[in-house]
Symmetry: C2
Subunit: 215 residues, 2 copies
């Protein structure tokens, strides 16, 4: 498999973690988002949505998958061990909800293209842009904290004592939060789980600074 990735893209990092948890080898193909390489014709031919991550599967058809959560669900269905989702439907719903609380409520608002629209088209100041960024991260993580804190199924990780889909999404969001100096003291359970994840090789060896394209 080939993974089109950008070291700082948190959606790419989610998939890098999942691939590492599954022990699946892949070729890393960097796509430099700040240099707009995702808009190139070459990348568009691979991934019509022009978003990273894109995972090109092996085989004659070389099917390209996009959207990190769809990719991770696909990897989990085709390589079931170790599972990234619980076996029961309610547990699966819980894990997907936590993942979507980040992937739909926080991350889309702080995407590079969105920040560029704010400053470029709407002439929002650098300060206001940073305030916007922190607002969605800080309020969004509060929701995640409420899902996790004190819940009987929260364990060493988001759901039980093995890392799964929710953790694949949570950890990259914390990297973004830290890079942008967002508050995290108000989300102690989130941060405890983040630290637990970072002590695992699947999370630490795939982190932005460990990527081949890291600068």
């Amino acid at each position: 498999m080939k993974l089109y990735s950008y070291f700082r893209s948190s959606a790419s990092y989610r998939v890098r973690i999942a691939l590492a948890l599954k022990g699946l080898p892949y070729d890393y193909v960097p796509v430099h988002l700040v240099k707009n390489e995702q808009s190139s014709d070459a990348f568009r031919a691979v991934a019509p949505a022009q978003l990273v991550p894109a995972l090109v599967l092996d085989g004659p058809e070389a099917t390209t998958l996009t959207q990190s959560l769809a990719i991770i669900e696909y990897l989990d269905e085709t390589h079931p061990a170790p599972p990234l989702l619980p076996a029961d439907a309610l547990g699966r719903a819980r894990v997907r909800t936590i993942a979507l609380d980040i992937a739909c409520e926080i991350h889309p608002l702080d995407n590079l293209r969105v920040l560029r629209y704010l400053t470029g088209e709407l002439k929002v100041s650098e300060d206001d842009k940073n305030r916007w960024y922190r607002h969605w991260v800080e309020t969004g993580l509060e929701v995640v904290e409420r899902q996790l804190a004190g819940h009987p199924q929260t364990g060493r990780f988001s759901h039980g004592d093995v890392p799964g889909l929710a953790d694949c999404v949570l950890v990259p969001q914390i990297f973004n939060a830290r890079r942008m100096d967002c508050r995290t003291e108000h989300v102690p359970t989130v941060m405890r789980i983040f630290e637990a994840c970072m002590s695992e090789a699947a999370f630490s060896t795939t982190q932005p600074s460990a990527c081949p394209d890291a600068t």
Copy 2:
């Protein structure tokens, strides 16, 4: 089951369609987003994330599910007929990708709370806010069109000839697009599928104007 919904919330509409496709009965509990009823203590006790839709399951535990895509996957797992996802992993990945292309790349940017932040905190003008809205809808739908147009698995609906998860997400987005006068001529396949869906009772009987709280 009880569905906390707001007639104009497109995430709520997704779940209303899924429940209708499955033929599952439920009580409709309106939550008026414009009046901020989602911020009330009463609703927070039901759904800590304070987002609609929230589906309260039957049974002594009255578990509340949130996040529309997680709810729909749960309904599909617990009430498998008719299926809302294809049987094969690649097909499932395709359908989830289309759903996420809307749920992660378009919808979060045009949420009521986001628009309020733009005009309230960032003092963006009404015109610029509407331009923002249309920008993300129009460019986002273009990506969906590229996934659908000419793809061998696109049928009468997004994936084959029966409606599924991708259609549950696509149709509500088009309602939003129309309400905000977004262009749709550039996405003919999307619009053809939208019309096919609207000829089905599961989509038409659950549309915003047919909801008990419609004004």
